[in-house]
Amino acid sequence: MTPKIRTLTTTSAAVFLAISFAFAGSAGAAEASAKPTLTQDQQAGKDIAFSKSEGNCLACHAIANGELPGNIGPMLVAMKIRYPNKEDLFKVIWDPREKFGKGIIMPPFGDHKILTKEQIDQVVDYLYTL
């Protein structure tokens, strides 16, 4: 990753990037079989994120290949670029109130023991593939 990309932290930059990814994706999607397979942890994280009774992230976030996503939160895309430091991403999921204020609708998954530390690690691993 170039230093230039790493400094792109504003929303508009992230959105621009995400859109270009989206277009890039339209070409790539043609060869769906070329999709990289997930590691065990990444797959576990994906299962948690998609499951209604666990993470249920799809209730609010669009995620690639997730069916019927809600549109309350921003789409989860280009996570590695937007959160170059894994720990920051972990923290958002553990307790989003720290970053977004206590009015945020997103549940504090770690702080309220909805997911365990290990599960959130797996979700982060998965988000990094997006």
């Binding site: 929303t11 989206a22 994706g25 769906a32 690639a64 549109n71 939160g73 921003p74 895309v77």
Partner: protein, 294 residues
């Protein structure tokens, strides 16, 4: 899939940006603690300002008042309104049911016409907010109906919901007109309900306002979130997905359980106060129950 994925990405992004805007409007739930009327005005204005696309007299339709797709599905479901069976059943029960002293339920709560529109109300005698279904239950209890025959949240619920549907149809077209008398206990009941609406609860740390105010009109999965106005006007509602007539108390109980909180008991003071708050906000909306929801 080839085309859908990128489209979804872009739609998701736009929607994501929109989401931040919805929550931006300034609103302070602590405003006007001693003046419900002023508060209700501000509360309604939040929606009028943020959702100019919703017509004032369509708030009583829930999500069908602003979502075209949902509305067309609704039209289809309404070809054969499943509520009608419940209204007929409820009417029969209402007419035939006798308390142990041989009297009908109307001897206890009054005639069917317009009865639903009198609820909820604050009763200065006991200082409590009264809910229609609970008053029917209390008629039975006070008249000495054996405990296992009283309509509760489980047993007899179908009969209670049918009667509720019938009574709602007998107030169809009337306006919600909830009074808050000059009694500090009434104001307190309203404020208590208001607090319940805005307080985050449960393991998921969600408030009613999170979904039905700050993120109203957005979607959780495929569910479109209705607004903070028109919560009560259509009740009871027949829910297609549950194939069941659902009373307001039952619905509020369900929404609270969904936040993974341990809900207050059904018909408890807390739920009646919440209903009082929601119904007062709905003042001026036309009662159009029993309504139909997906």
């Amino acid at each position: 899939m080839k085309k859908i994925v990128p489209t979804l990405l872009i739609v998701g992004l736009i929607a994501g940006i929109g989401s931040a805007v919805a929550a931006d409007a300034k609103f302070n739930p602590l405003n006007n603690p001693s003046n419900p009327e002023e508060f209700a005005k501000e509360f309604r204005n939040y929606f009028y300002q943020n959702f100019p696309q919703i017509k004032h007299d369509e708030y009583n339709m829930g999500t069908y008042g602003f979502d075209k797709d949902a509305y067309s599905q609704y039209k289809d479901m309404m070809e054969f309104p499943p509520q009608d069976d419940y209204i007929a059943k409820g009417k029969k029960i209402w007419n035939e049911y006798r308390l142990p002293d041989g009297k009908p339920l109307s001897s206890c709560v009054g005639d069917a016409k317009g009865l639903r529109a009198k609820y909820p109300y604050f009763n200065p005698k006991d200082g409590q907010v009264h809910n229609l279904e609970l008053d029917l239950i209390n008629c039975q209890k006070n008249a000495g109906v054996p405990a296992d025959k009283v309509w509760g949240p489980k047993q007899g619920y179908a009969d209670l919901a049918a009667v509720s549907a019938y009574l709602s149809s007998e107030s169809d077209g009337m306006k919600v007109d909830v009074q808050i008398p000059k009694d500090p206990r009434a104001t307190e009941a309203f404020n208590n309900g208001k607090e319940m609406f805005f307080r985050k609860t449960g393991q998921l740390n969600l408030s009613c306002a999170d979904c039905h105010m700050y993120h109203a009109t957005q979607r959780t999965r495929a569910e479109i979130l209705h607004t903070g106005i028109g919560n009560t006007s259509g009740f009871p509602v027949y829910r297609y997905s549950k194939q069941n007539m659902v009373t307001l108390n039952n619905r509020l109980f369900g929404c609270m359980r969904d936040t993974r909180a341990i809900p207050f008991p059904q018909y408890s003071e807390q739920f009646r106060d919440l209903e009082y708050f929601l119904a007062y906000i709905d003042n001026g909306q036309v009662i159009n129950g029993p309504a139909l929801r997906k």
